[in-house]
């Protein structure tokens, strides 16, 4: 607007200069949109387009290849009946129960350990610059590497148990990775090891962002360290918790490689997560419709949990 006004004021200037200027103004207006357009289009097609495609396929009778004629609810009927088949457990039952166990323990474990490490590192200790990358390092590994390393470490005939037996502690026994009821907890352990360092970095950034004046004021008022963290600092980290939770929830729900590398499915398929189920049915068993339906159910579950939380967090911020 300002540019146009000056153009009018300088009536003696040649017209071309004025139009060039307004062109520039247009360009300045349009540039952000232009730059964002490709990524917007890509997201639209490759995320939302394919979500719709998956939903579509889940209502077809697709086996090895996509079949686009709608009208089959076979996939959902089968999944529904498998949801309650607990003795013996169906693959789908195992997957969703494992998701609940893994999701809850993994998210809670990463948050707790990440926060604890961050608070300890924040005590102005020596050699923080060395310790921080050590804790953060596992995040730089892929889940496959983590899985294989922990597979060896937890193997009773090879890793921890074997070593302790060699050292003389022969009563030590830890075979969870071979135990169909415990194997999912080994996935939790490896997952927490991988991600808690990253959580530590996020919390540390949050802690460093807290106004020292507030901490000083609280100290003046006689708050103990425990109270200081419990009542003031941790509540102030709420935005960090929010980001951390979103990141962890997405890592948990897409976990696939860790299960494969660590347990190759576990004894009798007891370590499966929904992503493993989806891959197995879609690509190995040529049940494209069932695979798609399981993906749709995963998406809806995540949506049901994340959207209300997002909504409440964002509304609070707007206030």
């Amino acid at each position: 607007m300002a540019l146009v006004n000056t153009g009018k004021a300088g009536a003696s200037r040649p017209r071309s200069a004025m139009s060039r200027r307004s062109l520039r103004a247009h360009l300045q207006d349009a540039l952000p949109k232009l730059v964002l357009a490709p990524s917007f289009a890509i997201t639209l097609v490759f995320v939302y387009g394919f979500i719709l495609w998956t939903v579509w396929l889940s209502f077809t009778n697709s086996r090895a290849f996509p079949n686009y004629s709608l009208g089959s609810t076979r996939a959902y009927r089968l999944l529904w009946s498998w949801t309650f088949a607990h003795d013996p457990p169906s693959d789908w039952y195992t997957s969703i129960i494992n998701m609940a166990i893994f999701g809850a323990l993994y998210i809670f474990g990463c948050l707790a350990i990440g926060l604890l490490l961050a608070i300890l590192l924040d005590q102005k200790i020596r050699a923080e610059g060395v310790l921080r990358p050590i804790y953060l390092y596992p995040m730089a590994l892929s889940f496959i590497v983590t899985g294989v390393a922990w597979k060896w470490f937890l193997d009773p005939g090879l890793g921890l148990e074997h070593t302790l037996h060699l050292w003389g502690w022969t009563s030590f026994h830890f075979d969870w990775i071979k135990n169909k009821d415990r194997v999912i907890y080994t996935v939790v352990i490896a997952g927490i090891w991988q991600s808690s360092g990253f959580m530590m970095a996020m919390f540390l950034a949050g802690l460093r962002g807290i106004d020292t004046e507030i901490v000083k004021a609280a100290r003046m008022d006689g708050a103990s360290t425990w109270h200081l963290y419990q009542r003031i600092i941790i509540p102030m980290l709420r935005p960090v918790f929010f980001s951390a939770l979103i990141v962890l929830a997405h890592l948990a729900i897409t976990s696939y490689d860790l299960v494969v590398a660590l347990t190759s499915g576990g004894p009798g398929g007891s370590a499966w997560l929904p992503a493993n189920f989806m891959y197995q049915y879609t690509f190995k068993r040529n049940e494209l419709a069932i695979g798609s339906a399981s993906a749709v159910i995963m998406l809806m579950t995540v949506t049901a949990i994340i959207v209300p939380y997002l909504y409440s967090e964002l509304r609070e911020k707007a206030r």
Binding site: R63, A64, F65, L78, P88, P89, D91, K151, D155, P156, G157, D175, I177, K178, K180, T263, S264, G265, G266, P267, G268, G269, S270, Q280, Y281, F283, K284, R285, N286, E287
Partner: protein, 416 residues
Amino acid sequence: MRKLIIAAALLAATTLPSSAADTKELQMLHWWTSGGEAAALSVIKTEMAKEGYVWKDVPVAGGGGGPAMVTLKALVAAGNPPTASQMLGYIVQDYAAAGKLGDLTATAKAEGWDKVVPAAIQKFVTYDGKWVAVPVDTHSVNWIWLNKAVMEKIGGTEPKTFDDFIALLDKAKGAGVIPLALGGQDWQEATMFDSVVLATGGPDFYKKALNDLDDDALKSDTMKKAFDNLAKLREYVDPNYSGRDWNLATAMVIKGDALVQVMGDWAKGEFTAAKKTPGTDYLCYRFPGTQGSVIYNTDVFAMFDVPADRQASQTALAKAVMSKDVQAGFNEIKGAAPVRTDISDAGFDACGKKAIADLKAADAGGTLFGSMAEGYGAPPAVAGAYTDVVTKFFHGQIKTSDDAVAQLVKAIDDAK
């Protein structure tokens, strides 16, 4: 300016295909990337090079071909199929039904392949009477592999029946050796169960239950007995078996830590790689109680429906694969039997000679059956359901053989 662009585009359109359509180029998708497999494949590569074809690998690592099949699906969906691709089991039929495969019938007739390839195997390379693929090898899963030194130490002899086998395993247990080396992964347990079913019920029962999916056979007491026999074998594995890779289980036999492994003949590759000789270092027998029958699986090269200018290289590949020299040379290295029944066994070791003779006899006697566990008994959905039930029974999620049979019938029903 615009004219120039159009001209350039036209030029590109006319020149590009002719350079891409190098008829001497052969694109091959496969997952034979490990040592022995790659060495076997080079026999075919050399043969093609002799004829002046340029071999272009589209290798996707990963045993079993899971990742490769995902890649292939994408290539075919994009309308850009390779000249040929390694495939397993019923997948060939899926691609053929979708109209993606070419037609080799004329070549097959001219070369007389239908007379030398066992009928049971032809079923997997033909669709609607047309040859759409060529088989490369015949693997067989009803084998046991024993360490000879351990066998002599415990004074064992070749087990002829399932009961003999149990007695032999008891002997090993008594001598303090791990009797049965098993990798506790679902497909390995299912592979072993294929042999157990054949040993328990005999050839006719195996065919009815695991190839024809006959309901009565699946529900029968014989099937229950097969599960009970599988449970017996569970008593002879070491506590650490769960999740072990198959080649590590083979290594236990090679080192003499364990007496025997039940595994397909690809296990021989591990013995060969460890410089062991059949007859002196290790022994190969048919799974006790399955002598005279062969449970097979086969690697095939499926030929895609490619433009006319690429068909010559495709036909050349098919002819090379099926030629007697390549069949012998390839399979001597791969550890399998040739798919042609008219190949001399002169170059093969003792186990290979036995495999060739057994295959011929089984083909003639009608006792050549597809392996359910390896995906040659039924389409992938059913095979997956079968594997599920076997592994859950083996690891105790399914507790009794009655439950196992009921679950098997239900799971197969769901998958149909």
